[in-house]
C-alpha cells in the first residue's frame, strides 16, 4: 500500500549552498532526492521509511559534463539520456553509454541520474560496473569542503557507503583512457528492455606485445556491492591469452564472487553466467573482437 503522502517532506533549496547547509544543520534528517526513479517506487509500495527529503533535481550546479585533457567530469544529476548523447562518452567510455541505454526505458532514462544510481547503492544497478572498470572517482561535497574518493572504495557493504550524513555526491570524474583499449559490457536480464539485471559484466583490457594489459573486471548483481574482481585481474595481467589462462581466470572468478539466491535469479545461474561472460570477454579479446 502506498505511503501516506502528506507525511513526507520534500524541500527544494534554490542553490547548492542552501542544500549543503541544510544537510549540515540537521545531519541524517534530510536525504537527497534526485530523479526519483527508485524512491518513488518505494513510496508506492509503502516501503519508503525515511520521511524527509531534499529535492536536488533543480540544482543546476550538479548538472553538466566538462572535459579536460585528463578527465571527463559529470555532474551527479547527469541523466542516462544525457550520458548517451555525449560525444566524448560515446567515443571513450562506451560501456557507460551502453549501461545508460539498458537502464529502464526512455522515460526512466530521462529522469534517472548517474549520482542517484550510485548513491541508491543497489548491487544490481547498471552503471556501477562500468564506473568501476573506468576507475571513476566521486566528489563528496559538504559545508566542510570537497573530497574526491575512488569509486572502488565507496561501497562498504549492502547499501552502505563511506559518505557522511552531511555530504552530497556532487560529481563523477572519469580518467581518460588509452585509445587501444577493448571494452566489454553485457547485462543479462529477464528481457531485453526494462528488466533489472541478474548478472552484469563490465571489463576492459588490451593485448600488448602478446600479453594481457590494462585489465579491469567489474560485476554487478553477484555480491552485496558492485564488485571489482582484483584477483581475477591479477591472474590475467601479464599472461599470454590462451585457453589455459582463460580456465584459470574463471576458476579465480568463481572464488572471488559471492552470488546469492534472490527474487531475480539463483546463485547457481549467476555463477554460471558470470563465468560464461568472463570467458566470452576473454575469447573476444584474444581475437581482438571486443568492440564497443
Amino acid at each position: 500500500m502506498r505511503g501516506n503522502i502528506p507525511s513526507y517532506a520534500l524541500v527544494s533549496p534554490g542553490k547548492l549552498g542552501e542544500a549543503l547547509s541544510l544537510l549540515a544543520s540537521e545531519p541524517g534528517v534530510w536525504q537527497p532526492f534526485a530523479g526519483g526513479t527508485d524512491l518513488m517506487v518505494l513510496l508506492e509500495s509503502g516501503k519508503l521509511s525515511h520521511k524527509n527529503y531534499l529535492n536536488i533535481w533543480n540544482l543546476g550546479e550538479l548538472r553538466g559534463i566538462t572535459a579536460t585533457t585528463d578527465h571527463l567530469t559529470l555532474g551527479a544529476l547527469t541523466t542516462y539520456t544525457e550520458v548517451q548523447s555525449n560525444p566524448i562518452l560515446r567515443e571513450e567510455f562506451p560501456m557507460l553509454c551502453q549501461a545508460a541505454s539498458e537502464t529502464g526505458g526512455l522515460a526512466i532514462q530521462n529522469r534517472g541520474t548517474l549520482g542517484g544510481n550510485i548513491a541508491n547503492a543497489s548491487p544490481a544497478a547498471d552503471s556501477p560496473p562500468a564506473l568501476l572498470a573506468y576507475n571513476a572517482e566521486l566528489e563528496l561535497l559538504s559545508v566542510r569542503g570537497s573530497r574526491w574518493v575512488p569509486y572502488q572504495t565507496f561501497h562498504t557493504g549492502y547499501k552502505k557507503m563511506i559518505m557522511e550524513p552531511d555530504e552530497l555526491l556532487a560529481r563523477v570524474r572519469l580518467p581518460r583512457l588509452w585509445p587501444d583499449l577493448h571494452h566489454y559490457y553485457r547485462k543479462v536480464g529477464t528481457r531485453k528492455a526494462q528488466a533489472i539485471s541478474k548478472v552484469c559484466l563490465a571489463a576492459t583490457a588490451r593485448v600488448y606485445e602478446g600479453t594481457v594489459d590494462k585489465v579491469r573486471i567489474a560485476f554487478g548483481s553477484i555480491a552485496p556491492i558492485p564488485l571489482r574482481c582484483i584477483k581475477t585481474e591479477d591472474t590475467l595481467r601479464g599472461a599470454r591469452l590462451d585457453a589455459g589462462i582463460i580456465e584459470k581466470a574463471k576458476a579465480e572468478l568463481a572464488r572471488e564472487i559471492v552470488p546469492i539466491d534472490d527474487i531475480r535469479s539463483t546463485k547457481n545461474y549467476r555463477l554460471r553466467v558470470s563465468l560464461n561472460l568472463l570467458e566470452d570477454f576473454l575469447y573476444r579479446l584474444s581475437r581482438a573482437e571486443v568492440v564497443s
Binding site: 502528506p6 520534500l10 518513488m40 526512455l106
Partner: protein, 176 residues
C-alpha cells in the same frame, strides 16, 4: 502526519494553460493530473515505472508521471494525451492508431501515443528497431505490439502501403 496542511502551490503549464496546483510536495504528477485537473486520459498501470501507461511529456521529455513528485515541477511545461490533438484535428499518431487498430483495450494507448509522438519529434524516420527502442518502456497487456508498431510506421510514412521492416530484427511478424 504534520499537524498543519503542508500543501504548497506549484506553478506550471499543462497542455498550454498556466496552472497553480495545490499539492503535497510528494504527490505524484499522475494523481494531480487525474484528480485535481481531471485529465483522466493518463492511466495508471503498475505505479512503479515499468509499464509506461502514465507517460506524459515534461519539458519536452517523456517521463513516467507515477514517478515524478509535484515538488519537482515548479515552472515546468507538461503535455498529456489531452494536449496532443489540435482541437478536433487528431495528431497523426492518434489517427494512425485508429486506422491500424493500434488500440485494443486502450489502457496502454495514451502512454504509447505519448511515447510515439516524442519518438517522431526526435526522429521523423525511425526504423523498426528505433520504434521498438522508443516504445520499449511501454507495455501492452493485450500484447498487440505489431499493430502498434504498424501505427507508428503509418504515422511517419502515410504514403507507405506496407511498412518498412528491418530484416535483421528477430521476431518480426510472420503471422498474427
Amino acid at each position: 502526519m504534520p499537524a498543519t496542511d503542508s500543501r504548497k502551490p506549484i506553478q506550471c503549464t499543462v497542455n498550454g494553460s498556466s496552472e497553480t496546483l495545490l499539492a503535497y510536495p510528494m504527490e505524484r504528477l499522475l494523481d494531480v493530473l487525474r484528480e485535481q485537473l481531471h485529465l483522466t486520459g493518463t492511466k495508471e498501470g503498475c505505479g512503479e515505472g515499468e509499464c509506461g501507461a502514465c507517460t506524459v511529456l515534461v519539458d519536452g521529455r517523456i517521463v513516467n508521471s507515477c514517478l515524478v513528485p509535484v515538488a519537482q515541477l515548479e515552472g515546468s511545461s507538461i503535455k498529456t494525451i489531452e494536449g496532443v490533438a489540435s482541437g478536433e484535428q487528431l495528431h497523426a499518431v492518434q489517427q494512425a492508431f485508429i486506422d491500424c487498430g493500434g488500440a485494443q483495450c486502450g489502457i496502454c494507448t495514451p502512454g504509447m501515443v505519448m511515447a510515439a509522438v516524442d519518438l517522431l519529434e526526435r526522429n521523423p524516420n525511425p526504423t523498426e528497431a528505433d520504434i521498438r527502442n522508443g516504445l520499449a518502456g511501454n507495455l501492452c497487456r493485450c500484447t498487440g505490439y505489431m499493430k502498434i508498431f504498424d501505427s507508428v510506421f503509418r504515422a511517419c510514412q502515410k504514403q507507405a502501403i506496407e511498412p518498412r521492416r528491418d530484416s535483421s530484427q528477430p521476431g518480426t511478424r510472420k503471422s498474427k
